[in-house]
């Protein structure tokens, strides 16, 4: 087991004047045994970052260490990692057993130990009866488990996951999320998990890295990221519906954007006056979309109402008051938290 240290990691494609930098100096310290999720919109560089840790992409600048070793110039096989790919990357011509045993055979692990290790992994993942099947004879969920099994049997220092759940249907995804959590509790192997799905990130992460356009916006526990977003990007990316951001809120200084989460706005007798534009019922809660006129334009403010609370009429005017201790302030130009 090992920690992962990223220090000022850069990635660019091409060279010279045409170089295209996609990761702009990411530094992070991932502790031994920790489960860290990298989350961000598509194209933010999260997969590239993971592939640099894996050794599948060259590191253009900075340093990556696994344990105490700098791995910049090491081959993927020398980094003592295992990776679960988005499309699982199972070897289609090999049985489930051979898929899991491939790495061990190359490492010249004795035959009976290979069998023991694969059997154990198959037992954990409930794959025992499928060991002789080919990947094409398995369902999506089973293939996903084989991919995990292939990672487990190697007993690596680090697990890398590249959006491993995105090809599963919603129900299976929720189930597999729990399985991954349990697996991590049992094995305690340092894990780096890349996803674009904030629910996955919030539920799986011990700490999470929020990335945007090649920059690490925030690194913290899910609670921290949710309660104290470091920037307007994090504020709107994490949480659904996103945080309301109001540029020229009453009482706020110029150049400051005020943020307030939909659940921290209460409908009161006086306060900000909004026209109800739309209503959405989600079962346990309702979302009220209020239009707030100011100057010539307007802003849409979302309010979350729990079940049982009175719901305003469409088109009516309501008054809302934010809970003062839940207000967030951001610099309008940089987007950074103040």
């Amino acid at each position: 087991m090992a920690s992962i240290t990223l220090s000022k990691v850069f990635k660019s494609y091409g060279s010279g004047k045409t170089a295209n930098q996609v990761i702009h100096g990411v530094s992070a310290e991932i502790h031994d045994g920790e489960f860290v999720v990298v989350v961000g919109p598509s194209g933010c560089g999260k997969s590239t970052l993971l592939r640099m840790v894996a050794g599948l992409e060259e590191i253009s600048g900075g340093e990556i260490s696994i344990g105490s070793r700098v791995v910049n110039d090491l081959e993927p096989s020398e980094r003592d990692i295992a990776m679960v790919f988005q499309n699982y990357a199972l070897y289609p011509h090999m049985s489930v057993f051979d898929n899991m045993a491939y790495g061990l055979k190359i490492a010249r692990v004795p035959k009976d130990e290979i069998k023991a290790r694969v059997d154990k992994a198959a037992k954990i993942l409930e794959l025992g009866q499928y060991l002789n099947r080919k990947p094409r004879e398995l369902s999506g969920g089973q293939r996903q488990r084989v991919a995990m099994g292939r990672a487990i049997v190697r007993q690596p220092q680090v697990f890398l996951f590249d959006e491993p759940l995105s090809n599963l249907d919603a129900k299976l995804r929720a189930h597999t999320r729990l399985e991954i959590q349990k697996l991590h509790r049992d094995l305690g192997i340092t894990s780096l998990f890349v996803t674009h799905d904030q629910v996955e990130a919030m539920t799986l992460a011990q700490r999470m890295i929020v990335m945007n356009a090649g920059i690490m916006e925030q690194f913290g526990t899910p609670e921290e990221v949710y309660a104290r977003p470091a920037s307007t990007f994090v504020a709107t990316f994490i949480g659904s519906p996103p945080m309301n951001l109001i540029k020229e809120a009453p009482g706020a200084k110029p150049g400051v954007t005020v943020g307030i989460r939909p659940e921290h706005l209460d409908i009161t007798d006086s306060g900000w006056a909004l026209t109800v534009d739309a209503l959405e019922t989600l079962g346990a809660e309702r979302l009220v979309y209020g239009r707030w006129q100011h100057g010539e334009g307007y802003e849409l403010v979302i309010i979350r109402c729990d079940e049982g609370r009175p719901v305003p009429q469409l088109g009516s005017t309501i008054h809302v008051t934010p809970r003062p201790d839940r207000l967030h302030y951001f610099d309008t130009t940089t987007g950074k938290r103040i």
């Binding site: 993927p76 096989s77 990776m83 988005q86 990357a89 289609p92 011509h93 790495g103 190697r154």
Partner: protein
């Protein structure tokens, strides 16, 4: 809503497929039937009459040491053409698959030989190997090899194999390249993480996944070396020296049109037909069943 066009007329579909049917019937089935018929007939020595002789033509063939020798020549020739052709083009495809810059240029150049007619390909190589003035023959002489494919049967065999392989590499290359590009990159990456060296990755992942392509090409190449190489042989060695490069299809032509033994020649084409049918059946059986993922 029905999206396909449906014809009510009874004869229109037949009219529409008629050209294709006519071509197949006139150019494939008719000659084949003719050959079948002729294979059990014998011409009178000076023409004029035909006599039914049953399987005599076939019996004679299998007692003819020349014919058996031609089988051996064909076997050596086609195995070498297939093996050399496939391995060289696989190597080229693997390298082309790694090229990042100038990829199109490289591919285009590799595909060109396919546009060259077999006879032209043969003539091209004859010029280069023509002793003593051909470019390659000249070089060979410089290193002490006295090249003469008109007298030395090994030289002759080498020459037609080179010409035949050169001509077929483009075709194989295209299929191999397409096969390589259809292997997901993540498989190779997974194998790299699993610790496999590039060599091992190729033999344990890439090559097995290419096996449907390889098998398909193997059959195509064997059929090619059996039949389509006629032009090359006719333009280079004419089956010589002696009959040492006279493969089955060349012998069919020679016995029929030079030696004027129509019955024997027809019997040989019937045997060739049987070989092709067998190869095709094997190909369909195999490709559908075993070698697919």
């Amino acid at each position: 809503m029905e999206k396909r066009v449906r014809f009510k007329s009874r004869w229109l579909p037949w009219v529409l497929v008629a050209p294709q049917l006519a071509i197949t019937l006139i150019f494939f089935y008719w000659p084949a039937a003719q050959a079948l018929l002729q294979s059990v007939m014998m011409d009178a020595p000076f023409g004029g009459s035909l006599e039914f002789v049953g399987l005599d033509n076939f019996r004679q063939l299998f007692n003819d040491p020349d014919y058996l020798a031609s089988f051996r020549t064909t076997a050596i020739f086609s195995i070498l053409v297939a093996v050399c052709g496939l391995s060289i083009s696989l190597l080229l495809a693997v390298m082309a698959n790694r090229v990042v810059r100038g990829e199109r240029f490289y591919k285009t150049l590799l595909i060109w030989p396919y546009a060259v007619a077999p006879v032209v390909a043969g003539v091209l190589w004859v010029f280069m190997f023509a002793s003593p003035m051909g470019v390659i023959a000249f070089w060979l002489q410089a290193v002490g090899i006295n090249w003469n494919h008109l007298l030395n049967s090994n030289h002759a065999m080498t020459l037609i194999i080179i010409a035949a392989v050169w001509k077929q590499i483009s075709y194989n290359f295209l299929f191999f390249l397409a096969g390589l590009q259809s292997i997901p990159k993540s498989l190779i990456e997974a194998a790299a993480i699993d610790g496999a060296s590039p060599w091992r990755r190729f033999w344990t992942i890439v090559f097995p996944l290419l096996s449907p392509t390889t098998f398909f090409l193997l059959v195509i190449n064997v059929v090619y070396s059996f039949f389509d190489t006629f032009g090359i042989i006719d333009a280079t060695t004419k089956g010589g020296p002696g009959k040492d490069t006279s493969i089955l299809v060349y012998k069919v032509y020679y016995d029929g049109f030079k030696a004027m033994d129509m019955g024997g020649s027809a019997a040989q084409s019937v045997i060739l037909m049987a070989i092709v049918v067998t190869l095709t059946v094997i190909q369909f059986r195999f490709v559908e069943k075993k070698v697919q993922y």
